[in-house]
């Protein structure tokens, strides 16, 4: 027992394991310090450079911030307490200053938000389906042929590299104004993003079950369906839910170029009125997105929690 702490090296103190370790450790810390300082200097240099390019200066910020406030001031509703809950008068109008006046088009907004959610749901379902198939083609361990894998990976890169709004812009020309263009645009982008994530999950899956299915005479589809899919299913479900959150936000945006959903209304009220209707729509969008985020987060955690218990 005592020999552990009092053990002296057999041949000379220069080979003492502790001092050897200590000098090695000091050397490592010195090396790491050099790297860290270099990275820090580079970071600050790039930060200053980009600030200079974008002319991000305190005085411009100081001048600009109040104008944001100014805009929000102009689109704030002028609610008045005494008529806040007034209903329609004889002419069928809400008095100015009432909630009803502010949200005169409430049911139209709700219809459009519902359309937005349905767009996101459709796009998520189709996108996940396509991503699952493409992930098997793209993953290096399951691709049927090398060139198929390369082609699938490049295709997925293209799909997720181009923003939804660009796809939507082009598709509005192709299939006309409306939700269809938006759904297709989001499907393409979601397929690209989910396909990449899913193929990484597939690459981490065990190939043993695949060998097993191969050995019973199963074809490639059966090897994927029985050998890989059960392994990756919990991850896929979680990714699909997470993508649904993103797609809700995306489908609220594609409306700006005429591809359906609440975005079209937001764009309309901003460019035509810029009055309290802007905040009316914005508040509804934020509420919807927050609600769906919370809901899907709950579901995902329940899913992951269930998995990790096993």
């Amino acid at each position: 027992m005592a020999s552990i702490t009092t053990n002296t090296p057999a041949n000379g103190s220069d080979k003492d394991p502790v001092s050897l370790f200590e000098s090695h450790r000091r050397q490592m810390i010195r090396d790491r310090m050099v790297v860290n300082v270099t990275l820090g200097v580079l970071f600050i240099a790039f930060l200053l450079w980009s600030a200079w390019i974008s002319r991000f200066t305190p005085d411009r910020l100081a001048a600009g911030l109040p104008r944001i406030m100014e805009y929000f001031g102009s689109v704030m509703p002028s609610l008045q307490w005494d008529v806040l809950f007034e209903s329609r008068d004889e002419a069928g109008r809400f008095p100015p200053g009432s909630l009803g006046f502010w949200y005169n088009d409430f049911w139209k907004y709700i219809r459009l938000i519902w359309e937005t959610i349905r767009m996101a749901l459709t796009a998520t379902l189709i996108g996940t389906g396509l991503a699952v198939i493409l992930a098997f083609l793209a993953a290096r361990n399951t691709t049927p042929a090398h060139w198929v894998g390369v082609a699938a990976r490049r295709f997925l890169e293209f799909c997720r590299g181009v923003p939804e709004i660009l796809f939507a812009l082009v598709l509005v020309f192709a299939v006309g104004i409306g939700p269809l263009a938006g759904v297709i645009a989001i499907v393409i982008h979601a397929t690209g993003a989910l396909g990449k994530l899913s193929s990484e999950v597939v690459e981490n899956a065990s190939m043993r079950p695949v060998d097993g299915i191969k050995a019973v005479g199963g074809n490639w589809f059966e090897q994927m369906r029985y050998g890989i899919l059960p392994q990756v299913m919990p991850n896929y479900t979680s990714y699909a839910l997470w993508r649904f959150e993103i797609n809700v936000r995306a489908s609220a945006v594609v409306g700006f170029v005429g591809a359906g959903g609440i975005g079209a209304e937001l764009s309309h009220v901003i460019s035509f009125y810029s009055d309290d209707r802007v905040t009316a729509v914005l508040i509804l969008i934020v509420l919807t997105v927050t609600m769906i985020d919370l809901l899907s987060e709950r579901l995902r955690h329940a899913l992951i929690g269930k998995e990790s218990l096993k």
Binding site: R208, D211, G212, I213, A215, V216, G217, Q231, M233
Partner: protein, 273 residues
């Protein structure tokens, strides 16, 4: 009859199996022994073409197995079932589905993608499981089973293929002695009762001697011994195992002092989760 004609496997720089020529008659139980890296697994996996031979030919009942492609190849794999060292079951599916997956070759695209199996197939799978004493876990998720149980499920999956040959790649290397005995007894029973040809890679000498009709010894990709267990003298075994001989013998003594059928260690210990 399975005929090997100068069957070879070459990887980039090494020859895993040097031209091998031999014949396995129907209904024989063959044990392939040798040290790790001797080419046993490669030889076995060439039979169902999980590894592609780089030269030579393999004939089954006169049919050229090495030339098969597509559906014909899958039909051949369905005819010669394989059991693996690591079981290669789908852990997240239940036991029954794993066993029924042995029928996948007979399914069309849609029924296999939808995972629809007939009542007949279910009954068939349950019988196979029951034969191995595993019917009671049929609906349990597979990755909750122990190694020995999984290997028996894997044998059940192989059985529902209604194969003509059963390949076993180190079937007991990951198992404790008791489970090893249960699994080897099952393979021997399949060989004797169903008349299936069983070709089995084994690490331990003793097991091969106890269970097999014929032993093939491999060393660095070459078949150096081919004969009955009686003909496999200690001297011959030492030649097969070379430097690892002492390990192989001591391992044989400690881990697998198995006597086939002596007292059938049927799975009395049933784990019910």
């Amino acid at each position: 009859m399975l005929e090997f004609k100068a069957l070879t496997k070459q990887f980039k720089n090494t020859v895993a199996v040097k031209p091998a020529t031999f014949t396995i008659p129907d209904g024989q139980m063959v044990g392939i022994i040798g040290r790790s890296g001797a080419g046993k697994s490669t030889l076995l996996r060439m039979i169902n073409r999980l590894n592609e031979p780089s030269g030579g030919q393999m004939l089954f009942q006169g049919r050229d197995i090495t030339a098969l492609k597509g559906r014909d190849l899958r039909e051949w794999r369905n005819e010669c079932a394989m059991v693996f060292q690591q079981f290669n079951l789908v852990g997240r599916l239940n036991v029954l589905t794993n066993v029924m997956s042995g029928r996948l070759f007979h399914h069309n695209f849609f029924s296999s993608m939808a995972g629809v199996f007939s009542e007949k197939e279910r009954a068939f799978a349950i019988r196979a499981l029951d034969r191995l004493g595993m019917a009671h876990v049929a609906l349990q998720q597979t990755d909750t089973l122990s190694g020995g149980q999984m290997q028996r499920v894997a044998i059940a999956r192989a059985l529902v293929q209604e194969p003509r040959i059963m390949l076993a790649d180190e079937p007991i290397a990951s198992l404790d002695p008791l489970n090893a005995k249960v699994v080897m007894d099952a393979l021997r029973a399949i060989n004797q009762q169903d008349g299936l040809t069983v070709i089995c890679n084994l690490h331990t000498l003793d097991t091969a001697r106890q269970y097999c009709d014929r032993i093939i010894g491999m060393q660095e990709g070459v078949i150096v011994f081919d004969g009955t267990p009686k003909e496999l003298t200690d001297k011959a075994a030492r030649e097969i195992y070379g430097a690892e001989a002492e390990d192989a013998f001591s391992e044989a003594m400690t881990s697998t002092a198995l006597r086939p059928g002596a007292q059938r260690a049927q799975p009395e210990v049933r784990v019910v989760n």
